[in-house]
């Protein structure tokens, strides 16, 4: 029996194995992902991002636990990304430490993933792992990004609902109005809300959003709720779960989910086409031509774009 069939039948060892093969770009992994693809598109994908130390893993732990004990009891998969060392390529993946409440629940699957040099808060294969978990039949797939600052917004292109986690005392108003991570939030969580400054942080974020979403537009746009939580105790986490369901309804009701899928598939195909065209060109041409062009660029005789155009036109540089 092939891996994809085993995965569809609920074999968790086969799932673990398939995720490794996909992550390693192994042909068997790509084959398995292709076989699962007709079963994808059902899962709701939730991204959780925010700076280091805001409590992302703890929130994922409590959120998954709350969902599993709620009315609909959805099955939950978690992909938790941590950074790889740029020097050795090694990584310590420690997100499971905070996810002990989920141990022993067969409706939960947690996979740690190293970023393997990718920037943007995710690993290159994160989207493929999420697709495999979707195809495996999980109702909700959560992605926890690496501790993210202001520009790690890749998650918004992968997740249907993006949760940005903040904590009191990490930034002032100016941080909040900077472009970037706050703009991608569908739900804003102020975690560690039992700490001093939490009320201020909630008020400040709400005021910022108020300015960004004038009331005239109410209804046509999603206005991200700002929700205080104490994830270690579970306070406020039920409200976050409800906000995810509301956001899902909004996406479906306004046709945005369909548009998201179309944009996402288009972007992925375009990226793969670019990669494939490069490989194709490399196969059809000798390395010498590229190297010769490179030398001309280094000698400042040609600009990089000019050199590439010459190579593509088949001319000698």
């Amino acid at each position: 029996m092939d891996l994809a069939t085993q995965v569809r039948e609920g074999d968790r060892r086969a799932l673990g194995r398939l995720l490794t093969l996909i992550e390693n770009d192994d042909p068997e992994g790509l084959e398995g992902l292709s076989a699962l693809y007709p079963h994808t598109g059902r899962a709701h994908i939730v991204g959780i991002t925010g700076a280091s130390g805001t409590g992302k893993s703890t929130l994922v732990n409590r959120l998954a636990y709350t969902l599993r004990h709620g009315a609909s009891r959805p099955t939950v998969a978690v992909v938790a990304v941590d950074p790889s060392s740029p020097f050795t390529g090694g990584a310590i993946l420690g997100d499971r430490i905070r996810m002990h409440d989920l141990a022993g629940d067969r409706g939960v699957f947690i996979r740690s993933m190293a970023s393997r040099g990718a920037l943007g808060g995710l690993a290159a294969a994160t989207g493929s792992l999420v697709a495999a978990l979707d195809g495996a039949g999980f109702d909700i797939v959560m992605i926890e990004t690496v501790g993210a600052g202001q520009s790690e917004v890749e998650i918004a292109r992968t997740a249907h609902t993006t949760i940005v986690v903040e904590a009191p005392g990490l930034g002032d108003e100016v941080q909040a109005i900077k472009a970037g991570i706050l703009e991608i939030a569908d739900i804003l969580v102020v975690n560690k809300a039992d700490r001093p400054g939490a009320d201020h942080a909630v008020r400040m974020l709400r005021a910022t959003l108020e300015a960004a979403y004038p009331s005239a537009e109410a209804g046509s746009r999603w206005k991200p709720p700002v929700l205080p939580t104490v994830a270690t105790k579970g306070d406020g986490v039920e409200e976050v779960a409800q906000a995810i369901f509301r956001h899902r309804e909004f996406l479906v009701g306004t046709g945005r989910l369909e548009r998201f899928r179309r944009d996402r598939a288009r972007a992925e195909m375009e990226m793969l086409l670019r990669e494939s065209l490069f490989v194709h060109w490399r196969k059809a041409n000798t390395a010498g031509e590229f190297e010769a062009a490179l030398e001309r660029v280094l000698a400042h005789q040609m600009a990089p774009r000019q050199a590439v155009e010459t190579l593509l036109a088949g001319g000698k540089v």
């Binding site: 968790r12 673990g16 390693n24 390529g89 090694g90 310590i92 993946l93 430490i97 141990a103 996979r111």
Partner: protein, 137 residues
């Protein structure tokens, strides 16, 4: 670009609260280019086996300082085999009396490390264990 990385689960079964050794080992394995899943203190054998399944690791490193190794280690091995992960190599570090070493090795523990072991020798042992485990998988 296919890239195969060795994945290691470093876990602390049982109730002792001393994880400095486990963290030193985790860091040394990371510095040798491996991906180390660290799960923290007070893990049951069931939690360790579940993590090994989800994470599809090549090696499980157990740190036991409590003296409960003769109960915990065989249970982890049994659970791994029971879930079709007999190829996963198990290494044990901590305070293991000499007289227990042959019994643990007979059960299938690849290597046992006591106090004073260099991180270099642990990294080498993990590399060797991965090679033998893959030959069997």
């Amino acid at each position: 670009m296919p890239q195969k990385k060795t994945r290691v689960l470093v876990a602390k079964p049982g109730l002792d609260g001393h994880d400095r050794g486990a963290k030193v080992i985790a860091r040394a394995l990371r510095d040798s280019g491996m991906e180390v899943i660290y799960t923290g203190l007070r893990q049951t054998p069931e939690m360790i086996a579940e993590a090994a399944l989800h994470e599809d690791v090549d090696v499980v490193g157990l740190s036991v300082l409590s003296g409960a190794h003769m109960a915990l280690v065989p249970r982890v091995l049994e659970l791994l085999r029971g879930q079709g992960q007999g190829h996963v190599r198990v290494l044990v570090g901590g305070i293991i009396p000499d007289e227990d070493v042959p019994a643990l090795k007979a059960l299938g523990v690849a290597e046992i490390f006591g106090p004073g072991t260099t991180t270099h020798s642990v990294v080498e042992a993990v590399r060797k264990a991965v090679a033998t485990g893959q030959a069997e998988a």
